[in-house]
């Protein structure tokens, strides 16, 4: 508690000035943009995951209300902290405060009725979305939040087919292993989960499950008042139990609360138009997955094109496997590059794709389409449990002039250790401006937590500068290199893939960290 109080004092006294260890490197640019406290107004649903100070899995999802004037007027969250308790906690926030800078960076502190608190740093990508990093040093975690629609906090608004991606850990006899479950589930708007299909990849099980029918279940909004006030409910399906928070009638945020493990993710309503045959799956796609291999933490980012006839081309792939970086480009090295929309499970949006690289072996994936341009994806390659997002890639070329603007970002991963740090998760949230210059075109500010460092673990208001270098038409891997002026200062080189001129997936290609994430152009109010 003393640590938290010290932290809060430090942050509120000098948030803009920064209380993290600033080192050599770029000075944070003065905040600019159109955001303010008024930009965070209304009810928001959020979800985060990471590890506590001992490395144990922790996840939280909830809802809060911001008044547009720097005050949190209420909130509720479910917390699964497997290092602290085997039971989930339901925490009510009675009050809180927040500050939003003109660049969209912010700080929010929640106070709970039981005397505990939660401190998060954020970066708004718009007034309705943003990214979060936990900065109270009780854990390191990151996630996102979305503006909610309270009018949709009813059971009848949870209806239709939803595509989900839950990741976390699965309990073994005396330990845990990574877990990924993706699939499609159907809700009838009347409290029933009528079925669905899922693919489970559980590190404690001998092999990925393949497509498995989801056994029916039920769902209900809380009758205590938390249902109507915060959109909280509970549900069961597929033999698992969950709590959820409604964002709106197209999305819920879900956290697993049962005896099988801990996992968290979103479920998004599936569009009426999804690929039903190979011919409907075409064009460029890019994906980002994170998880664990037999060696440790792993992140992969790639792009490919689908020809509408079951064949993949134009593959570009980058991986950081516990510090080992590997790049694959399309050439004679690539064989058996194919995809298939699952017609045996028609209507689910399920598909698979695979390719073999002569040097790195065979890569296999399964995905469930949310729409014709979005999907969740799970890695089925040997020796890995990993999942993430897949987006249709807009047509190139991608150029700096078309992408110039202000960006919010969230990166998360594992820093792999140094003379002054043990390997541990790290989480970054921040904002930068991208110019159309060919060098030194990135200038911004970042807040981050590195619990593996000895001494200072929290870095706020740290300058960030660097260069995005677009290679060729930009559709394959590009270089995104930044200097972060914390103490110690850190240079991170990412391989960056455009999903569109305003959205990029990033994977670190250094041997010092497996950090990966997303950067999205801000929509300024």
């Amino acid at each position: 508690m003393r640590r938290l109080l010290l932290l809060l004092t430090c942050v509120f006294a000098g948030y803009v000035a920064g209380c993290g260890g600033g080192g050599s490197g770029p000075t944070p640019p003065p905040p600019s943009g159109g955001f303010s406290n008024a930009s965070l107004k209304g009810q928001y649903a959020f979800s985060m995951s990471g590890v506590d100070t001992t490395g144990a899995f922790i996840a939280r999802t909830g809802s809060f209300v911001a008044d547009g004037n720097g005050n949190i007027t209420g909130g509720l969250e479910d917390v699964v902290s497997l290092g602290a308790s085997s039971s989930p906690a339901l925490v009510a926030f009675t009050t809180g405060t927040y500050q939003i800078q003109s660049n969209g960076r912010g700080l929010v502190v929640f106070q709970a009725s039981n005397g505990t608190g939660l401190q998060l740093n954020m970066a708004l990508s718009s007034t309705s979305r943003g990214y979060l990093v936990q900065t109270d040093l009780n854990a390191t975690s990151s996630g996102s939040f979305n503006l909610a629609t309270p009018a949709d906090f009813t059971a009848t608004n949870f209806t239709g087919k939803y595509v989900f991606d839950f990741s976390g850990v699965s309990f073994g006899v005396s330990s845990v292993a990574p877990l990924s479950i993706i699939g499609q589930v159907a809700a009838d708007g009347n409290g029933n989960i009528t079925g669905g299909l899922e693919d489970s990849n559980d590190g404690n099980v001998a092999a990925p499950s393949g497509p498995v029918a989801i056994s029916p279940g039920t769902y209900a909004l809380d009758s205590s008042g938390n249902g109507t006030a915060f959109g909280r409910g509970t549900m069961t399906f597929g033999g698992r139990a969950f709590a959820f928070y409604i964002v709106d009638n197209t999305r819920i945020k879900v956290i697993e609360e049962d005896l099988q493990g801990g996992s968290i993710g979103d479920a998004a309503q599936q569009a009426s138009t999804i690929p039903a045959a190979n011919s409907a799956f075409t064009g460029g796609w890019t994906y980002l997955v994170g998880g664990s291999t037999t060696q440790g933490p792993d992140t992969r980012v790639a792009r490919f094109t689908a020809d509408g006839n079951g064949n993949l081309g134009a593959i570009s792939y980058d991986e950081n496997n516990a510090g080992g970086y590997n790049h694959i480009s399309q050439g004679t090295n690539i064989s058996a590059a194919t995809y298939a929309i699952d017609t045996a499970n028609a209507g689910t949006g399920r598909g698979t794709f695979t390719f073999t690289d002569s040097g790195s072996g065979t890569f296999k994936y399964v995905f469930y389409a949310i729409s014709s341009s979005q999907a969740v994806v799970q890695d089925l390659s040997s020796g890995i449990v990993s999942d993430g997002s897949m987006l249709a890639q807009s047509a190139g070329p991608f150029t700096l002039s078309a992408s110039a603007g202000n960006y919010a970002f969230n990166w998360s991963g594992v820093q792999l250790g140094s003379n002054s740090a043990v390997p541990f998760e790290e989480d970054f949230v921040g904002q930068y401006a991208l110019s159309s210059a060919t060098s030194s075109n990135i200038s911004g500010v970042v807040d981050y937590v590195e619990l593996g460092l000895s001494g200072n673990n929290l870095f706020t208001n740290i300058g960030l500068s660097g260069t995005l270098t677009i290679t060729g038409d930009g559709t394959n891997n590009n270089t995104f290199k930044v200097l972060i002026s914390g103490s110690p200062s850190t240079t991170i080189t990412f391989q960056a893939y455009f999903a569109s001129p305003t959205t990029m997936f990033l994977v670190c290609s250094d041997n010092t960290r497996t950090t990966a994430g997303i950067t999205v152009q801000q929509t300024t109010p």
């Binding site: 590890v51 001992t54 144990a56 290092g83 073994g172 292993a177 664990s292 040997s382």
Partner: protein
């Protein structure tokens, strides 16, 4: 510089001296690469600890131990360093370890990874049957018998 496993060296030597045409070597390389962890391929190694790096500064990330075996030195990846620490599993130079594990692909190379490590009378499973590094566990809850932990 990281010590390479004997099994990895053997694999490399086999490829170098196979006498096959280059194109054939490339094709063979895919087939010969160890895939994911396979219980059927497991072996047991016994050796004396030459060095132990619990902080995992060598790649891949995690705890590494270099063993002197009857065939030479072998770099063994023990998985999550936190997991060893949480389970109070100590290793020091001169200890004799028995390791159950196998060589798996690591990027374009290979790495010997342990699934079970034994030091004296203590044995610890550090990887799942899939070869995924295990995380720490919680004591059983008195209320529901659930176990938890993290990767």
């Amino acid at each position: 510089m990281r010590t390479r496993g004997l099994w990895a060296l053997s694999l490399a030597a086999t490829a170098l001296f196979s006498g096959a045409a280059f194109a054939q070597q490339q094709a063979t390389a895919v087939a010969a690469r160890p895939a994911g962890y396979d219980l059927a391929r497991e072996g047991t190694i016994v050796g004396t600890v030459v060095s132990f790096d619990p902080a995992g500064k060598n790649l891949p990330l995690g705890a590494h131990v270099v063993l002197q075996t009857s065939s030479g030195t072998l770099d063994v990846h023990l998985g999550d360093a936190h997991f060893l620490q949480t389970n109070n599993f100590s290793i020091k130079s001169g200890d004799t370890l028995r390791v159950i594990g196998e060589t798996v692909a690591y990027g374009r190379s290979t790495q010997f990874v342990a699934r079970v490590v034994q030091n004296g009378t203590r044995a610890l499973q550090v990887r799942s049957v899939r070869g995924l590094p295990l995380g720490q566990s919680l004591p059983k809850s008195e209320s529901n018998g659930k176990q938890g932990g993290a990767q």
